[in-house]
């Protein structure tokens, strides 16, 4: 069975508009969670977010989208990150248009970032806005489909906060089973009244900066962003630069509650365990875990319990959501990029805002940037509906 190699990456988040900028922020502990400046919501002064400080108009100009084209901010983030990834991997227009190139996107908000326009169109009698075909999830993947002229297998996945981890998993399967030779995988979400109000109604948004794995954590900060990776078969990448291997993945449902994880962390435990088994690795071979680590009461404790069940004493771990905020459908892909960066540069990235460990587990996340030997990185993504996914990336 061919190994799945990562040959290109692109990213945009609150801590940078490119792979290089993101790495620089992670190394220098420069977080991107701040007061909202662009997104209009009643919570602008109250709930800090990982906002990208670029207006949608600027994006539109930069990405040369036709002024009439109804691409939403989420779609623009997709185009920004996917273009960097495609360019980085050196995929040619011919390759992109061939049937053997696949595309798998992921999002939980999709075009619903245009909350007010959607509301108007849902109730309007006569004239629709230009966005009537842009509210759904698929619209943001289709923006990339059109940009690159992709005709092969394409999907969009929504498993809440593990969406883009599952897009990577599904893309890897398309390659393994011969439905594609190369696949562009990732996800995006932009800030939306829909999610700000939804998470706020669930009382899991922090009014300060989120503090993953800290005893006094009091919720998450929402963020926006997008990341895409190019996956290719090992036999097709001779002579190309190879960043990492996708060596394992696991997907499990916690089957406990619609919006929280079981106290014993069953879903997280099972997805991490399956990923290790598929990668044929023992727990102590994992060099670093990019945890889901949202900063909510429920997630950080249950994830800690699951890590202790599987690892005994876990390897160094951290939550980079303390830099970017929780980017929902984008987070799996964004953290996949960070995992691969760690392997490329033999370094591991810290958690911000940590001061005291959770009493019941006593686990302390990595809180300083560190250079060390990195062989295998595990990345966790858990979502509402109990959707848990774990990916493992390895040094090629």
């Amino acid at each position: 069975m061919s190994r799945i190699m990562i040959t290109g990456m692109g990213i945009i988040s609150a801590i940078g508009n490119s792979v290089a900028e993101n790495r620089d922020s992670l190394k220098n502990k420069r977080g991107g969670i701040s007061r909202l400046e662009f997104y209009p919501t009643a919570y602008a002064g109250k709930l800090p977010c990982g906002e990208i400080k670029i207006s949608s108009e600027t994006f539109r100009e930069k990405l040369f989208t036709h002024p009439d084209s109804a691409i939403t901010r989420t779609g623009l983030l997709v185009l920004h990150a996917a273009e960097e990834a495609v360019k980085d991997s050196g995929l040619t227009p011919d390759q992109l248009a061939f049937r053997d190139t696949a595309l798998v996107g992921a999002t939980t908000v999709g075009g619903m970032c245009l909350t007010d326009e959607l509301f108007r169109d849902a109730h309007e009698r006569n004239y629709g806005s230009p966005y009537t075909s842009s509210y759904d999830y698929a619209s943001v993947t289709l923006a990339a489909q059109q940009r690159f002229g992709i005709t092969g297998e394409i999907s969009t996945i929504n498993t809440a906060c593990s969406s883009s981890a599952n897009a990577i998993l599904y893309g890897a399967r398309l390659i393994k089973r011969g439905y594609a030779k190369r696949v562009i995988v990732g996800g995006a979400d932009s800030l939306a009244k829909f999610t700000i109000n939804g998470f706020n109604a669930l009382n899991i948004l922090s009014s300060g900066l989120c503090a993953p794995f800290d005893r006094n954590r009091n919720g998450l900060n929402l963020g926006e962003g997008s990341a895409f990776l190019v996956l290719e078969r090992e036999e097709d990448v001779k002579g190309k630069k190879i960043y990492a291997v996708l060596s394992g993945f696991g997907n499990s449902n916690d089957a406990y509650h619609p919006s929280s994880i079981s106290p014993e962390g069953e879903g997280p435990y099972l997805s991490m365990k399956e990923a290790l088994e598929r990668a044929k690795l023992k727990a102590d071979e994992i060099s670093y875990i990019n945890a889901h680590g949202t900063g909510t009461e429920n997630n950080d404790e249950t994830e800690s319990v699951a890590m202790q069940r599987l690892f005994g004493t876990p390897p160094p771990f951290a939550s980079t959501k303390s830099f970017t905020g929780h980017t929902l459908g984008a987070s799996g892909a964004i953290e996949a990029v960070y995992s691969v960066l760690g392997l490329m540069h033999q370094e591991i990235y810290p958690s911000l805002q940590f001061s005291e460990p959770i009493l019941s587990t006593g686990l302390i996340p990595l809180h300083d940037y560190r250079q060390q030997a990195v062989r295998h990185v595990m990345s966790n993504s858990f979502g509402f509906g109990g959707n848990c996914t774990t990916l493992i990336f390895s040094k090629p």
Binding site: T41, A42, Y43, R99, T108, M112, T115, L118, F119, D121, A122, H123, E124, G128, T132, Y135, D136, Y137, A138, S139, T141, L142, I150, T151, G152, E153, I154, S155, T156, I157, N158, T159, Y170, R173, K176, R177, Y179, K193, F194, I196, N197, G198, N200, A201, L202, N251, S252, N253, D254, A255, Y256, P258, S259, E266, G267, G383, F384, G385, G386, N387
Partner: protein, 350 residues
Amino acid sequence: MLYIHKTACISPQQTHPEADLNRLMASKNNMLQITEPVYADIPPGVLRRMGKAVRLSVGAALPLLKNGPAPDGIIIGTANGGIEDCIKFLNQIIEYNEGLLTPGNFVQSTSNAPAAQIALITKNKKYNCTHTHRGLAFENALLDAIMQLEENVENSYLVGSVDEISAYNFNIDRLAGCFREAVISNDKLFETPVAGTIAGEGCFMMTVSGKAAGAEARVVALLTIHSTDENLVRNTLEQFLHQTGFSENAPDLLISGENGDSRLQKYYDAAESLFPETASIARFKHLSGEYCTASSFGFWLGTEILRTGKIPGIVLKREGSRRIERILIYNCFRGLQHGMILLESIIHTR
């Protein structure tokens, strides 16, 4: 190979729990809506909190999973999930100006809620995924299962699709020009070729495995393509049939996703042109209406035809001379997304 065991289809027609397609249920205001069944397996307290898409999915899935082995995964295709709850929450946001809101609609609206609720109720901790790729959401869910069964023939999965009509998404799609301007009756859907179709909704669930024992039919191959070029679609379809060994002997039946929208007719004509006179042609959108996962109704119809050996008169466009053993389901969504699925009877092997 993906083998189909049990199926359930809740649709605007009489398809659940038993199918009777002798009588056509009529559309109203260009909408074909489901009359929901009695959900005997769902506790009333749980049922009350569920949105329609979740109710339909759980209601269709639970009877299939009763007494059977627990599946190794739950894979669902839905373009919009609980769109009604989604816009109800949106209404709350606007009405209360982002004030204190109740999260119920928000949690129910996430499109992974149907797959998640089935997992929760049946305590299924295995693979769980939701594909939301608009007109190919069902095809991707099916492909997901096909690939996993290629990896492990011992496994079994629950695969399905659901999409609901709400007044809101009907209105948005109406403004986008998807539906007929004049109100028509669904039995006249194919009579006048003009732009637009009628809206529908439905839920399809099936248990599938890698083993033929006890199965009703199997999926031989599946392919999807994104293109607006009907010649590329035709060539791709021709190649698909050729690669799967059907070129000499085209499938005996084409189940066409034709929906009365004149703008899409060129794609369906291209598909039909590949079939000789001896093959039959059936269509179903006057039964299901158009929605993102409507191809799953065509898929269900294919399994019914293979099971009973009969093509219901109501779906027949052209009657050929061949016995129906192999079926191609071709569906085009809004002129961009094309899905091709080959179904085969497992009773007869050539």
